[in-house]
Point group: C2
Chain length 340, copies 2
């Protein structure tokens, strides 16, 4: 397997990206290409003892920042590290791409350059999150801020394909994020989506209220990208806030400091549970190749995990399963239209 | 001041409702009417030593459950505890209404029976939440699941009116919940709403990312009801989950139990911070009278606090301020239309 990594994407690029790539190459034995200014990437690589036959550099002179207009930047900056990486995948010279850079540029670029799987209306960003009773997928998390019910149905099928293959869960449950458990609750989008999901070839768990999201009782949670991104960032914000206030309070007196020391194991378990770094990146599902978006603030460990995720993605033939499910769903629709 | 309380609304009705009403009467000296089956409410009242000249019962034979269709139930069950309470306010015989019952029935009933303030397109549910750096308002939290940009502008004006009067904050800041801090980020609704809010007579703080919501750096956070309800319930879910796992972990060994004991003060402060009961109910802003929605699981203390909130609402003339702001906004629009 050959993976291409956007060497200039993310807050800690290129040093953390290169370090993570070197670690991943050693642990998983895969081939890695890193895109970016050759001298800069080589200087980082020189810090490590690495296998020169397995890690190479693809020179790219430009960088796309997080504040640039995604579509415009992708079209104009042909020699950017992300563009070069996407084209490598498009030309069949790499099996997967990982980037911790601008989410907008990555998703737009992946859709424009690599292209969608036939029949997929909108690819979706799908991170795996830690839940109390197990990990769960949140799909879509920001690729599509305005959705139609049909998009949500496809997110359900793609999420199912991923959970079955990568997470090895047989017949995973799929829920619809909604502000009420009853079928008739919600806004126009969720009411219509509920009807489609009920008829779809999935193990539909019905509506899931946001209060129950952190439990992780349902494997795949479907929503539009605005809601998904809001849920994701609210979870991050609340958890971060609780831990930061807790820390301040613990340091406030001798007694509480001792208490904090005795509970150290508990807190580190917690931090791990709420640490995105443990979970790698978010898959961008519905495009023709494997795309993994690593968190913007990824360190070397997070990047290494994102590469591991791309490998699991590859080994479990997720793209093929998504293609099959979407094809079947379209065939079913055609059958229904004929039958009507 | 005279307050009417829906005696049959909420998971703990009527006992917690009656107990909270008795406590509130004693503490705040106001008059209270409780609606519900006379014998049932009287039986609860008889448990306490209360001022019979200040607390009375308005008989209502029916109850609206949380699973009933709100509009239909309000129309059909004319003798329900919530209908009787709303009509008392409508007829000018009470200054405020509090209910812990079905949110849908309460909001629908308040809009239909009490009616909207002239010019208000959609009343909105607006709880005050605990933030790290101060309390903040989330408006709308579920009354309007599909919104237009103009609705969000009015939510901003109503939120400002409330924060200025009840929370006594001069020129409160108003932010738009959005999945990106830049102006051009978001979905169709938030992009258009951003433009309106920039021009509105408010102290506009721009977009607020969901990650920053728990900080409480912005006083009033505006969003559509689907997003607001999702944020509210995600916060509840994450906080609840963290505390429940923390408790389990602390009880898992002797060492951690001691640690937990030493940190008892820290945890109880936390629980208080994330305890909706401390903050009373959510105001339903934009209707002609004071409506406070208490949490469905309210105990006596939560209900007492919701009544206190109605009193503060009344003492600070929130309805009059909202009316003024909405009138001015409509006059400004007319000016603009003339000028064009």
């Amino acid at each position: 397997m050959k993976v291409v990594v956007d060497g200039m994407g993310g807050d800690n690029a290129p040093y953390a990206i290169v370090e993570g790539a070197v670690q991943a190459q050693k642990e998983y034995g895969i081939e890695i290409v890193i895109t970016g200014p050759e001298d800069l990437i080589q200087k980082e690589l020189d810090k490590y003892d690495y296998d020169k036959s397995k890690i190479s550099i693809l020179h790219a002179s430009e960088v796309i920042g997080t504040n640039e207009h995604p579509a415009m930047a992708i079209r104009r900056k042909k020699d950017s590290s992300i563009n070069k990486a996407l084209n490598l995948v498009k030309n069949g010279e790499a099996d997967a791409i990982i980037s911790a850079g601008s989410t907008g540029a990555f998703l737009t670029g992946a859709t424009l350059i690599i292209g969608r799987i036939k029949g997929v209306l909108r690819p979706a960003l799908a991170p795996i999150m830690p839940g109390k009773n197990g990990p769960f997928m949140l799909i879509d998390c920001g690729a599509n801020v305005d959705c139609k019910p049909k998009n949500l149905e496809q997110f359900a099928l793609m999420g199912k394909a991923y959970f079955e293959t990568v997470m090895q869960v047989n017949n995973p449950s799929v829920g619809l994020i909604n502000i009420g458990s009853e079928e008739e609750k919600g806004n126009e989008l969720t009411k219509e989506a509920h009807k489609l999901l009920k008829e779809a070839p999935i193990n539909f768990a019905g509506n899931v209220e946001p209060r129950d999201i952190p439990l992780g009782n349902v494997n795949v949670l479907v929503c539009d990208g605005f809601v998904g991104n809001t849920v994701l960032k609210t979870i991050e914000g609340v958890a971060g806030n609780i831990f930061s206030v807790l820390k301040e309070e613990i340091y406030s007196s001798f007694k509480t400091k001792i208490g904090g020391m005795l509970l150290k194991s508990v807190f580190s378990k917690f931090k791990k549970d709420y640490d995105y770094k443990e979970y790698g990146g978010a898959g961008f599902l519905g495009v023709k190749s494997i795309c993994v978006k690593a968190h913007g603030s990824s360190d070397a460990k997070a990047l290494k995990n994102a590469i591991r995720q791309a490998k699991v993605f590859y080994d479990n033939r997720v793209i093929e399963t998504i293609t099959e499910y979407i094809e079947n769903s379209i065939a079913d629709n055609d059958e229904n239209i004929k039958a009507e």
